[in-house]
């Protein structure tokens, strides 16, 4: 057999091939989730595969910026491939929607293209499924999205942990822009020493010590109430209200009997600069990073010309699929039978009959 060239043997970084049973499982799962979203009133949208980079330049930071594929069109304009559907969707909705159409519910399932390091192949960030609720603010919108996320995760039949926090809470406490960048960095690394040192520049030693504990808090509503009692003197009134809102949200969610374990997590402040309210991430045992994430971004659409509060979530579906063998999705029936008959007519008719009974039949 002739040796295959390196280009034949490898795919470019950031893309993948799936086939046969694995592709069928992917399609079945995508269809199941799309049907779920439709039943909740969410209509599908398709976003372009690439768009003008300049439209998003201000909204891209950190890793989100680093892993983008950029290219140039024939007119010399810089383009970017779709690396996050939320952004592309916000631009489309910002242009299309009018006040009378609110609230609007949209869902999407599509390929995303992100660079991934040659030696870091575990991320499986190839396919994003999600929903956006546009034009619904506060508890009304937040509850709907979190309940739909729970329903989505329930469909996967895998245990998950939902960590719920708030970017707004962080913004209300840390007003100083320069410091907030360093604090976000320290929080993203859960680097206690850097947190201490950054807080101590802004606040009294007592308040710094409390805020270190506060922003590392993970727990349930009761534990958070105890924390707030301790912190009444250190938190601005608006921040206290936002913290109480998170507690209310978690109590309402738990009252519905959600399947995952809900945790209030004040270190969840959102990785995107456009987050303005609640933020959340869902984790599953056996996965190396969050499988679903989302939040509120009330100013994002305004960036594209239409101001409407929005909230939504995304799931990196290919990440979950690696775990689905442990769930009911492994029960996909893939045992085709061969149609019998003495003539093509007979074989065709027999095959059709069996297919009507739900069998998979080859000719």
């Amino acid at each position: 057999m002739p040796l295959k060239s390196e280009k034949i043997l490898n795919l470019p970084q950031g893309t993948e091939v799936i086939h046969l049973e694995e592709a069928l499982q992917h399609r079945t799962l995508t269809r199941t989730l799309n049907d779920l979203y439709t039943s909740w009133g969410y209509l599908p949208v398709k976003t372009p595969v690439f768009d003008f980079y300049d439209n998003y330049r201000q909204l891209l930071t950190g890793k989100g910026k680093d892993n983008i594929y950029r290219l140039m069109d024939r007119d010399g304009d810089l383009l970017m491939l779709r690396s996050d559907i939320t952004l592309f969707l916000a631009r489309q909705m910002g242009l299309l929607l009018g006040e009378t159409e609110l609230p609007t519910r949209v869902c999407y399932s599509d390929i995303i293209l992100r660079h991934q390091h040659r030696e870091d192949i575990s991320k499986n960030e190839f396919f994003q499924t999600g929903v956006e609720l546009i034009g619904s603010d506060g508890l009304e919108g937040d509850m709907e999205i979190l309940l739909l996320l729970n329903k989505t995760m329930s469909k996967l039949e895998l245990p998950y942990y939902l960590h719920l926090g708030s970017r707004n809470l962080f913004n209300l406490i840390i007003e100083e822009k320069n410091r907030s960048i360093k604090l976000i960095e320290a929080l993203s690394e859960r680097d206690i020493e850097s947190l201490r040192s950054e807080f101590s520049v802004l606040f009294t030693p007592e308040k710094s010590a409390f805020l270190c504990t506060f922003f590392q808090f993970i727990g349930n509503a009761t534990e958070m109430k105890t924390l707030l009692t301790r912190g009444k003197d250190f938190l601005p009134v608006e921040a206290l209200k936002e913290a109480e809102y998170l507690i209310k949200l978690s109590e309402e969610l738990n009252s519905t009997g959600i399947k995952g374990e809900l945790r209030l997590d004040l270190s969840e402040i959102g990785s995107q600069p456009y987050h303005t309210g609640i933020v959340f991430q869902a984790y599953m045992d056996g996965l190396d990073s969050a499988v679903a994430f989302g939040g509120r971004y009330n100013d994002l659409l305004a960036h594209f010309g239409f101001d409407a509060p929005s909230v939504g979530f995304s799931i990196l579906l290919r990440k979950v699929e690696a775990l689905l063998k442990k769930s009911s999705f492994e029960e996909l029936e893939l045992k085709p039978v061969k149609a019998e008959g003495c003539s093509w007519k007979e074989r065709f008719e027999n095959a059709e009959k069996l297919r009507k009974e739900g069998r998979i039949v080859t000719l």
């Binding site: 575990s122 859960r190 206690i192 993970i218 997590d265 996965l287 990073s289």
Partner: protein, 213 residues
């Protein structure tokens, strides 16, 4: 369905001196462990931890992929790996410094052309000087970096310096300290989020005499 609360936490340790120091510290805090002859997996006496012994530079890869949820690692290795980890605790031991060094009496000159530096720590070196607005050309070496100025490959090197004895023996010296390098208990963020209660309990148990007294 497995009960994750009953499974031991997974911890990767780097082969070498650091592991001996961690072992000593964990022993003092009631979490002693030992690796049987040439084995690379061990459990602590209480069954709280499953410990893997890995090559220092591979440790971030194991944590990033979630094979081990926790690890003990220096800033130097973390910087080169570039993965996003949580730093849960900084240890009192293993600290060192990242320095730029050259021939005795030499100074840092970068006015006329770009700096040419040999180093194992190419990401650190490139980032450090980029942040200062100084163009650098970095030559990757895997060991015995001190030879680079001696043999004329580059005028400067960037390397970890503890005592400075190797530099001295080769007629070199530190020109400038670039950063303190500390050793941390790190965690894969998703792993931490799932197991945060048990991990916090473990971190609270580790009383590092050099830092927590």
């Amino acid at each position: 369905m497995k009960n994750i609360e009953k499974e031991p936490l997974t911890l990767a340790l780097p082969k070498g001196r650091l592991t001996e120091q961690v072992k000593e510290l964990f022993e003092e805090n009631g979490m002693g462990f030992s690796f049987e002859n040439r084995k690379l997996v061990a459990h602590d006496k209480q069954g709280l931890l499953k410990i893997y012994l890995v090559k220092n530079s591979d440790l971030p890869t194991y944590i990033n992929h979630g094979i081990a949820g926790l690890g003990v690692c220096g800033d130097d290795v973390l910087f080169e790996a570039g993965y996003p980890f949580y730093k849960l605790k900084t240890f009192s031991f293993g600290g060192t410094a990242m320095c730029i060094a050259g021939h005795k009496g030499d100074v840092l000159e970068y006015t006329d052309k770009e700096l040419k530096i040999a180093s194992k720590f190419t990401n650190f070196t490139r980032d450090y000087f980029s942040k200062m607005g100084i163009p650098v050309e970095v030559i990757k070496l895997n060991g015995s970096v001190e030879l680079a100025p001696v043999l004329g490959l580059t005028r400067y090197i960037v390397d970890l310096v503890e005592t400075g004895n190797t530099l001295k023996a080769n007629n070199l010296e530190v020109i400038e300290k670039l950063a303190d390098i500390n050793v941390h208990l790190i965690a894969n963020p998703a792993y931490y989020k799932i197991h945060y209660k048990r991990i916090n309990e473990m971190v609270d148990r580790i009383k590092d005499g050099g830092k927590d007294e």
